[in-house]
């Protein structure tokens, strides 16, 4: 026999302050429960993994961004400082080179061989001794106070007797009373690029100038030599931005630089956009002439080291993050799996417990059946015994046919009681295989009520009130089974009423469930009985009046239909039974 009652498994036990006892049908079977547990743990695992990944990876990402920018800043600063140092060193070298050329001329002026009226041979000797100091010297010339080059030695003899008064360097030298001057690079009178070094000397109140031309190529190659291996390109420009040395790839003088540093700053570094790329340009102004040394380095070259470091950082960060993620994933998976297994095991244990409880309930049922049947059986045995006594003349009892017939009626009554019990037990079994149609709950209630009023309610003054929801949806179910549910509850309600009272029946929709509430103004159910009323054979009625199966059958039918029965009772004021039935077929 299958037992439907699960009320003893109820999780929310009725307590003193909670006089509601629910008989709830939990239609989630074992598989559905396990699926639910699995879904829960999948969700949990995702949440844990995401949470931990964020907790671990977010700070390290932020930190690495911070270090990256800090590193880039530092690296840029050091590149700039480095470039400024290069520019400063190169400027000093160039300054020294040019100062030396000026000193070469002074040395010549102060040499013992010097004379203001030299022979061409003297001039050649002077040129030779200059070239001995530095092979950049091209030629040499003396300019008299009138600005005429009176003596000359070098490859351009036509420069003898040239008037230099219109030359800007000559004018600056004489008018500004300077001791020496170095000119910009320009073609000059000879039409070939060179620059001039000139010194002014007062002799007997007259201004004499000694000038020498220098090859700019030598300056360029000097610059190239000192910049070698520094990944820096260095050039010299004048105040107007004209190149004073040949930059790499340039063939001709004078080219013009786009960038001219401020003359107010003796040195400095700036970022300059040049075509597609950004250049760091460090400048340093020379003492004489007013040229600027520009040391240029593309930003990409300056930051090449950083690119490498950034790549290393990125790769190690990615590797580190992947390692952490893998560890997190592995650990969480393992933990969640363990927890899930435990939960599933727990679920299985719970089901086994429920099964065991059902078995226990079967025992309870068997003992209930025995008790219910044993009482009328005892009557039958005792009565057949008294008939036998009557027929025994020894006892001298009345053995008239009437007396015997009376005893036989007693036997019949007891037998009918037993039959009633077995029929109800069959009903309990049958309720599992109900044929389903669409039932109009309001109509079924009316029908049941009308039938009961004819017989069961007749002996008492019971008023009935109905509050139906007019357009209640039809529900899937077996009409006879539902009639039995309503009838069993209504009979109990009537029994609870002593002589006079009211039974109120109402129907409503509760979410997708149809609810039927049957409330009486009877004596109510004592708290200790509340959790037992759905147990088979639990009854408070006198022997022979109730079998204790009515509510049990009602509960099993409702449970089979996927619904619940809930009872709320106040002692002395009445009880109310609420039946919730699904309005749609269960999709399983």
């Amino acid at each position: 026999m299958r037992v439907f009652d699960t009320s003893h498994l109820q999780k929310h036990k009725a307590t003193d302050d909670q006089p509601t006892y629910e008989h709830v049908y939990d239609y989630a079977d074992s598989q559905a429960n396990i699926a639910r547990i699995r879904r829960h743990f999948i969700k949990l695992r995702t949440r844990l993994i995401l949470g931990l990944v964020v907790i671990f990876l977010l700070p390290s990402t932020l930190l690495s961004f911070y270090f990256h920018f800090q590193f880039a800043h530092t690296l840029k600063k050091s590149a700039i400082l480095n470039l400024a140092a290069v520019a400063e060193t190169q400027k000093n070298t160039i300054d020294l080179y040019l100062q030396e050329r000026v000193i070469n001329l002074y040395n010549l002026l102060h040499s013992r061989e010097f004379t203001l009226s030299p022979t061409p041979e003297n001039m050649d000797n002077f040129l030779q001794s200059l070239k001995h100091f530095n092979d950049g010297f091209i030629d040499i010339g003396f300019i008299n106070p009138q600005g005429i080059q009176t003596d000359y030695a070098g490859p351009y003899p036509f420069l003898r007797d040239t008037d230099y008064r219109q030359e800007s360097w000559y004018q600056t030298l004489v008018t500004e009373n300077r001791n020496y001057i170095i000119s910009d690079i320009r073609p000059g009178i000879r039409g070939i690029h060179h620059f001039a070094v000139a010194i002014r000397q007062l002799i007997d109140g007259h201004t004499y100038v000694i000038r020498a031309a220098l090859d700019p190529e030598k300056l360029s190659s000097l610059l190239k030599t000192i910049s070698q291996g520094k990944e820096v390109e260095s050039i010299l420009i004048n105040r107007q931005g004209q190149y004073q040395t040949l930059a790499s790839g340039q063939k001709r003088f004078p080219d013009h630089s786009d960038y001219v540093p401020s003359h107010a700053l003796t040195s400095g570094v700036e970022e300059v956009e040049h075509g597609q790329q950004t250049l760091f340009v460090a400048h340093a102004w020379l003492k004489e002439p007013q040229w600027a040394l520009l040391a240029m380095q593309p930003m990409s070259t300056a930051q090449a080291g950083m690119q490498q470091a950034r790549l290393t950082l990125l790769i190690s960060l990615a590797g580190f993050s992947m390692l952490i993620s893998a560890i997190i994933y592995y650990t969480i998976n393992k933990l969640v799996d363990n927890a899930r297994r435990m939960a599933e095991k727990g679920q299985q244990l719970e089901e086994m417990l429920a099964h065991a409880a059902k078995l226990a309930s079967t025992g309870e049922l068997a003992s209930g059946v025995a008790h219910e049947i044993n009482n009328p059986l005892a009557i039958i045995m005792a009565t057949s015994g008294i008939i036998r006594d009557m027929l025994n003349p020894e006892f001298g009892l009345d053995h008239s046919p009437e007396a015997i017939r009376k005893e036989l009626t007693t036997i019949d009554t007891a037998a009918v009681r037993i039959k009633g019990i077995t029929r109800k037990l069959q009903d309990m079994g049958r309720s599992r295989t109900l044929s389903t149609t669409h039932c109009d709950v309001n109509a079924l209630l009316d029908e049941t009520l009308a039938r009961l009023k004819k017989v069961e309610f007749k002996t008492k003054h019971i008023e009935t009130a109905t509050r139906y929801l007019p357009d209640l949806p039809r529900i899937p179910g077996e009409p006879n089974a539902l009639r039995q549910v309503f009838s069993n509850i209504l009979i109990n309600a009537a029994d609870a009423i002593d002589q006079k009272g009211t039974i109120t029946i109402s129907t409503a929709m509760q979410e997708s469930m149809v609810s039927v509430t049957i409330a009486d103004t009877g004596k109510g159910i004592p708290l200790e009985n509340l959790k037992r009323i759905f147990n088979p054979f639990f009854t408070t009625k006198e022997n022979g009046k109730g079998t204790g199966l009515g509510l049990s059958i009602a509960a099993s039918i409702v449970k089979y239909m996927g619904g619940t029965i809930k009872v709320n009772s106040v002692q002395g004021a009445g009880s109310s039974f609420t039946i919730l039935l699904p309005s749609k077929e269960r999709s399983e």
Binding site: A370, H371, N374, N375, I380, A382, G385, D389, E407
Partner: protein, 128 residues
């Protein structure tokens, strides 16, 4: 048997109780019936019995409670507990509370009479 055996049957099943009383009376036993625990206690206030046959499952006051009160009131009366339950639980409970014996329903009259006689003999021994 010099004195007449007096038996009180306590059972809420009218048919059973009345038939049993009738059958005991036919066997020259002074037998009386009570349909509930309180009624039995009320009868005991005026009359005395040698043996009480007590049903366990009764509305109002169950057999166990009735037994407790009978033993408080008249401890010399022997009580036989009769239960329809196929469980010895109520029987042993009754024995602990001082019942002479317990029997399962339906019990054949001969067995019941034997037990009643044993209880009566015990009581007589105790009375002496």
């Amino acid at each position: 048997m010099t004195a007449v055996l007096r038996v009180l049957i306590v059972d809420d099943e009218d048919d059973l109780r009345e038939t049993m009383v009738k059958r005991l009376k036919a066997r020259k036993i002074i037998a009386e019936g009570a349909n509930s625990g309180p009624q039995a206690l009320k009868i005991l206030e005026d009359k005395s019995f040698d043996v009480i046959v007590l049903d366990v499952k009764m509305p109002e006051m169950d057999g166990i409670e009735t037994l407790r009160r009978i033993k408080d009131m008249k401890p010399e009366i022997e009580v036989i507990v009769l239960t329809g339950h196929a469980s010895v639980e109520f029987g042993t409970k009754g024995m602990q509370l001082g019942a002479f014996d317990f029997m399962m329903k339906p019990a054949p009259l001969s067995e019941l009479l034997d037990t009643i006689e044993q209880a009566y003999n015990k009581k007589r021994t105790m009375d002496r």
